[in-house]
């Protein structure tokens, strides 16, 4: 008998008198020890289905099913004791955002131990000892200390490990992972995925992996359920889905994984690059209180970076959160004041210009942000938003401004009938299109795109990338594309700058970087990209930050032509390929 049996599941939510179906006709089953993936975009009903299995939906949800069984128990008829046994012991869950998944006022140890105590007759002391063992098994080295930590004292990656330990504490028969890596940095994502696979094997559990990311599916599961709009589109073994998808939605999903790359034309006649950052640095004064003393410190968010964005090219800045990539982008736009360095736009340094002198340059460079929701003024209509740049610079009459805004609305792929709408009526992808229209209506030469696609669903992401690519070719734009996601970068940009802890550690043309990475951090990043094909699954090794520091490449003076120094410096190893290395004699 399968561990999980779902047949004809339907979940609807009561809203304003009516009901909205979130999930319809969903049926699938999971056997003991099996790994099943559910893939779909936000709102496809993938999380709702699994929440229904554990009866975790709010009271406004109506759940109906011809069969909804977990571990032999009819979930819909389960009483309190059955539920307590099902949750935690039959099935355990891990969630998307580990930062909010723990109760902030209790220690990690307490929260793991209370789970153990809830399911077994066992004393507090033994439960804590067992919690420590579990933390060790999820590769937390200082387990004894972590027991006494509060959630805010741990990083996201560590918390997700602790979360997994907590899920394992009652030896569940099935582990349900709901987007367990989405909120984490790329390198951490890969580690967590590998950990989940490892503990699944060790504990002999079944696994349901809920995700929007086909790469995660390819890495972790045997069988896939594809969901769209609350219904199952397709189901089958993972290799079949990847190699012979039947449904159009699945095909679209896969296509987004394999977008081809055409380098942008560039502009060989250009004398000066469109944008050049020279020794741009940002440091913040920090004041830390220690008792009554205030310790003044300096935090180097970005240490003297050099970035060149040639005319009509797309250059990526890649790094994890806290690497300084966004700060660099904001400094290039003069939205954050740099502490040091120059910003050259067409050869003119704008780093010291005052607000008035900056205005002509403001027309030439624009920015698109990650969060499309807060990027649009909620009180303005789309026409007003798109026409705002014209309005600010007093270009044309109101009628002309409106007409031009409407043209741009169409140019970014939205119907004219959207003109009078407000941002909250649009989807994330549509809002991002509006933000792009606003940024490009002045036809700037430089566009800084700060993670413009990270908050979007996979298929929408591909559309926005294509839109950017098309507009770049039409307008002869130069784009500085800031991202944490190497697979997006691969399909869009001409060259890549890798930032790590406020420094540029490697820089190369895209293809060369992917083919021949030299810096250990770049390698770690590349290694963390999930496979695009289930046949490419492999075991990975991960470097700690100390190991990354220790493995900084070493070159001789003869190899690089640079002066020797004990400190790491950027050296040229091939045309256009620079890497941070220690130069020895």
């Amino acid at each position: 008998m399968p561990l999980v049996e779902i047949e004809g599941l339907r979940v609807s939510f009561r809203q304003y008198g009516g009901t909205v179906d979130a999930v319809r006709h969903v049926s699938f089953s999971v056997n003991e020890g099996e790994s099943v993936g559910i893939v779909g975009e936000s709102g496809s009903g993938k999380s709702v289905s699994c929440a229904a299995l554990l009866r975790l939906l709010p009271a406004t949800a109506e759940v109906a099913a011809t069969k909804l069984r977990l571990d032999g128990v009819d979930v819909l008829k389960a009483n309190k004791e059955d539920l307590a046994r099902l949750r935690g012991r039959s099935a355990a869950m891990i969630f998307q955002d580990p930062m909010t998944a723990f109760d902030p006022v209790f220690t990690i140890g307490h929260q793991i131990a209370e789970t153990i105590e809830a399911h077994r007759k066992i004393g507090k002391r033994e439960a804590l000892a067992e919690a420590e063992q579990l933390l060790l098994r999820v590769e937390i080295k200082n387990a004894a200390d972590v027991l006494g930590y509060y959630p805010h004292q741990l990083s996201g990656g560590m918390l997700q490990r602790a979360m997994i330990a907590m899920a394992l504490s009652c030896r569940p028969k099935i582990l349900i992972a709901d987007e367990p890596t989405t909120a984490l940095d790329v390198t951490i994502q890969a580690q967590i995925l590998q950990l989940i696979k490892k503990v699944q094997a060790e504990f002999g559990m079944a696994l349901i992996m809920i995700t929007h990311d086909l790469g995660v599916i390819a890495e972790t599961v045997d069988r896939v359920v594809v969901m769209y709009g609350g219904e199952i589109m397709e189901e089958g073994p993972v290799t079949d889905i990847f190699e012979a998808p039947k449904h159009t939605y699945t095909k679209a999903l896969l296509a987004s994984l394999h977008s081809r790359f055409e380098p942008s034309k560039g502009d060989p006649d250009a004398v000066a690059p469109a944008l050049e950052l020279r020794g741009l640095a940002k440091s913040y004064h920090t004041r830390r209180r220690s008792g009554f003393r205030v310790i003044q410190g300096e935090f180097q968010a970005v240490q003297a970076v050099d970035v060149v964005l040639p005319r009509n090219r797309i250059v990526a800045i890649v790094g994890e959160s806290g690497s300084g990539k966004t700060t660099t982008g904001l400094m290039a736009m003069r939205l954050t004041e740099p502490s040091k360095g120059q910003i050259l736009v067409d050869g003119t340094d704008i780093s010291a210009l005052d607000a008035a002198a900056l205005i002509p340059f403001r027309k030439r460079m624009q920015i698109v942000f990650q969060d499309s929701y807060s990027a649009l003024d909620p009180m303005m209509t789309l026409t007003q938003i798109i026409a705002e740049p014209l309005h600010i610079h007093g270009m044309g009459t109101q009628r002309e401004q409106r007409e031009k805004a409407l043209k741009w609305l169409e140019r970014v792929g939205l119907n004219r009938s959207f003109a009078g709408r407000y941002p909250h009526e649009l989807s994330g992808g549509q809002r991002q299109r509006v933000a792009i229209a606003r940024a490009l209506i002045l036809e700037p030469t430089v566009l800084v795109a700060d993670e413009p696609t990270s908050a979007l669903d996979v298929t929408v992401k591909a559309q926005i990338i294509n839109l950017l690519k098309d507009l770049q070719a039409e307008l002869g734009l130069s784009i500085l594309f800031i991202s944490h996601d190497l697979s997006t970068v691969k399909s869009l940009t001409d060259s890549v700058v890798v930032m790590y802890r406020g420094r540029v550690v490697e820089e190369a043309p895209t293809e060369r970087l992917f083919a021949d990475p030299r810096h250990p951090y770049t390698r770690a990043l590349l290694d963390a990209i999930p496979a695009t094909n289930p046949r490419e699954k492999r075991l990975r090794t991960f470097l700690s930050s100390e190991e990354i520091g220790a493995r900084t490449p070493r070159y001789t003076v003869i190899q690089t032509g640079s002066a020797p120094s004990a400190h790491p410096q950027l050296v040229t190893v091939a045309p256009g390929h620079r890497v941070e290395a220690i130069v020895t004699t």
């Binding site: 935690g88 869950m93 902030p104 399911h119 805010h152």
Partner: protein, 309 residues
Amino acid sequence: MLAHILRRILSVAFTFIVVSIIIFLMMHSVPGGPFDANDMPVSEAVRARMMAQWGLDQPLHVQYLNYMWGVLHLDFGVPFQSPGETVVQLISRAWVPSLILGGSGVLIGAPLGILLGMAAALNRNSWIDYVASTVATLGLTIPVFVTSMLLILIFAVWLNWLPASGWPQPNRWILPIACYAAIPLATYARYTRSAVLDTLNRPFVTVLRAKGLSERRIIFQHVMRNSAIPLVTVFLPMFIGTATGSIFVEAMFRVPGLGAYFVSSIEVRDYTLQMALMLLITFMYCLAYLLSDIAYALLNPRIRVGGAE
């Protein structure tokens, strides 16, 4: 943690000193000063001697420092309206009824309010939720003297169950205590409801359910503990409400407490008592501020344990 508390103490002390200066200046900005020519027709010589006797001929900052020096030694002077005793004696006599009535009001109102708020949050959109919301809105908007008036009319005038006013007999305490209890009851009902609802909506509650914890444990351990953090911040507004209410409750029910003396000190322009009472009340506020800050820090591990690694 200790440093955090000490810093708060310094900050609150600074606020207290600023407020005391403002109050002091306000008192001295009254046209004519305490010995106004219209209110006290005495000869110039007598006035001058009185001014000298009270130290009123000295520069303002000296007067202020002298006064505060006295305050530090619990010497607030002699009340005009009752020259036979010192201000401290008067206050220590008058604050007993205020404390008994106000204290019992808070002790009864606050727990009831918390229970009501919790019941409302756990049974959202049920009749108890509506009752709680109504009680909270009424208690927070209707002035205390209106509540007192209604209670007197209903229970003393119409039903004739309880005496309308007076002090020493305990059966005369019931109505004023009920009036005092209205404010903490309403405040805590409203804030507990919203705090518990906020907590219930946080993702970790789903995680706790998914772990298979019993609903009772989730509510009484996790939800309560988290909701308690915002509830601490309610302490101060509730305190303000109760202390302010004392003026009206004591006037309505003719209770010889601090509030009643505050009103009479204003009526007879008893500056020494006014100053003393204002300073005392401000001081209690500062203390309430400090206590809610400390409790907040103790309940919140982010402050108690400090930053991330």
